[in-house]
Amino acid sequence: MVMQMNATQPFVDQFDDVQSRLPGSKLPWLEAFRKAGIEKFSTIGVPTIKTEAWKYTRLPNIDCKEFRSANWENGQVAVNAVAEFLSDALNQIRLVYVNGIIRPDLSNLTNLPDGISFEPLTQALESDPEFIESQLCTEELKYDQGFSALNAAMMESGTIFRVAKGVQVKEPIEIVHMNGVADAPIIGHPHNVFVLEAGSQATLVMRHAGIGTSAYFNNAVTEIVVGDSAILKHYTLQTDCMEAIHLSTVNVRVGKDATYETFNFAIGGRLSRTETRVRLEGRGAHCNLSGAYMMRGREHCDNITIVDHLVPDTTAREVFKGVLDDEARGVFQGKLIVHKYAQRTNGHQLSRALLLSDRAEMDAKPELEIYADDVKCSHGATTGQIDENALFYLRSRGVPEALARNLLIQSFIAEALEEISDEKVREAIAGLVVHWLPADCFSVDEWVQA
């Protein structure tokens, strides 16, 4: 516990040290916002396991003083061209960051359709500060958790994505973060703002790739507004390296008849934690918060979801599936809150984990909090091992044991992948599953398209 108490101060010192150099330092509203953030953080501090949302997750024992913000040079490291994720990704619209620094040379905005703005936070603070102010500054600082408050104080990167009323973009748009290639441990606090105006549609793919071996600490906050009748598909792919700490807080507001679909796929990372809070604010609002994670070694993956059903006729669906090998740990904490007037809410929540080793561990805590009387909600959590009967069934058909095990893992994960409505993304994620599995397994073609 001593470690956790002492963990707060280095972050505060860091803020004092860099605040004058942070982007937008000439904007008085931003200065006030940052100040409110650091004050909140100083009060709350780094979360401990006494914090409910951190009950099963401890911040790894790192020396926070060693981590520092990236500078321009850190972003100029030579990296291989961005690996294509989507199969026909020619002319893929994307922003690419290396060690948290925007890389225009690797990014591509040439095909950006009309009605969309897509730019780094640093740039948007110059081009459209009023918009950022309108999104960030509410009467009171909304962040009630240590790391999101710290992000408010320290935000130095991130992406602003806006889709104008009625504009519908079919092709996925990418945000790529490449990390782990610095000469010293780096900490970053990206702050993203995605706003889809009424009737618009877009698909965003966020990739976090650990492409080197240096330690990094990513403390992201993403603010999302899905306007009335708008549809946002938001997919996150974490292929972080062993030395990565990846914390992400996502706050979403979903309007009338609007849909927010998110899928978080994680392989790797010393600690990978995503907390998604969704407010279903308009009648007919729908969200699907699902994900899959595959962890080995001593990796730790934590998914937290909180959905507020605030008005009648809203629906939420969650399907999380995790595969844990070696001493890996998985955590799922999900809460559906059905408020007093939210009649006819339909909520479904499922967490399933497959343990491949006796030393792997899963903690799941699904919760329903219901204050309305006409609702349909279900939740479930299971943790199990490879089904010996199924394994024998496959082997009795001639399938070798190692392959049979992989096929059963693929079978297990498939149920989560079905939640991804974008076919290209689903296939690409299936490819990452195949890549994660050792040796023989179904190829993507055999598995997904048959």
Binding site: R397, V399, P400
Partner: protein, 249 residues
């Protein structure tokens, strides 16, 4: 083809099979009948190699080779097939993909070239038509949402594509209505041949009206108590297993 000699086997430390002797030649169909708890399913699992079923004494010779130390997948590749009493559901894996994987795993073992997608589809199409199996069963996930009859038909389809030399049918009639029973039995009868031996394990005589055996054996208390021709099945149907020291259920 199959020669079981003084076979003793335990499950969880408890002896279930207590000295089985049985010889099955190519081209023959043998029925093993017995009451619940007699060791019928244990025998089928021991032949096919399920974990947890330990052979403590005796041998299972298959074309002269002892199977007892062999992995189940090797047995399958060598031509041993078990049709399950309760086929397992595998969500998220299309039946056709599973069948292709199984066929090619067996072909690899036998040193034959794997079938590519085209060759496989051609082969599987022919087999489904022969057996009167609906094509949509191939696209669906393995056994997921299948009716009892569909599951058993899927077992027979697997048997047809894997082309085993020794097929063991474990309680294939359980959970089938009379129409499904007929379809499944017709499938098995199509697969009878001079090169293949079939071992039908069942509690009831009714399956043997459709798959007529050459020999019938009565299994009780972990041992073959009596052997005879197909008329033995009728006798059992009439008298039950009482004379083998088993109370009526």
């Amino acid at each position: 083809m199959l020669e079981i000699k003084n076979l003793h086997a335990t499950v969880g430390g408890k002896e279930i099979l207590k000295g089985i002797n049985l010889t099955v030649n190519a081209g023959e169909v043998h029925a093993i009948m017995g009451p619940n708890g007699s060791g019928k399913s244990t025998l089928s699992y021991v032949i096919s190699g399920k974990d947890g079923y330990e052979v403590t004494e005796g041998q299972i010779l298959y074309n002269g080779i002892d199977l007892t130390e062999m992995e189940p997948e090797i047995r399958a590749a060598e031509g041993v097939f078990l049709a399950f009493q309760y086929p397992v559901e595998i969500p998220g894996v299309p039946n056709v993909t599973f069948l292709k994987e199984a066929v090619n795993a067996v072909r690899r073992h036998r040193g034959e070239d794997e079938l590519d997608a085209m060759q496989f589809v051609k082969m599987i199409k022919a087999k489904t038509e022969e057996l009167g199996i609906a094509k949509d069963m191939l696209k669906r996930a393995v056994n997921v949402g299948f009716s009892g009859g569909e599951k058993k038909r899927n077992e027979i389809l697997q048997m047809a594509v894997l082309n085993p030399k020794l097929a063991v049918l474990d309680e294939t009639d359980s959970g089938l209505d009379i129409d499904a029973l007929k379809i499944v039995s017709d499938g098995v009868n199509q697969l009878r041949s001079d090169e293949r031996a079939i071992l039908v394990i069942t509690h009831y005589q009714r399956l043997l009206d459709h798959i007529v055996p050459d020999f019938v054996h009565v299994l009780a208390h972990g041992k073959i108590q009596r052997s005879g021709g197909k008329e033995l099945a009728f006798e059992l149907e009439e008298k039950g297993y009482a004379e083998y020291g088993v109370a009526a259920e």
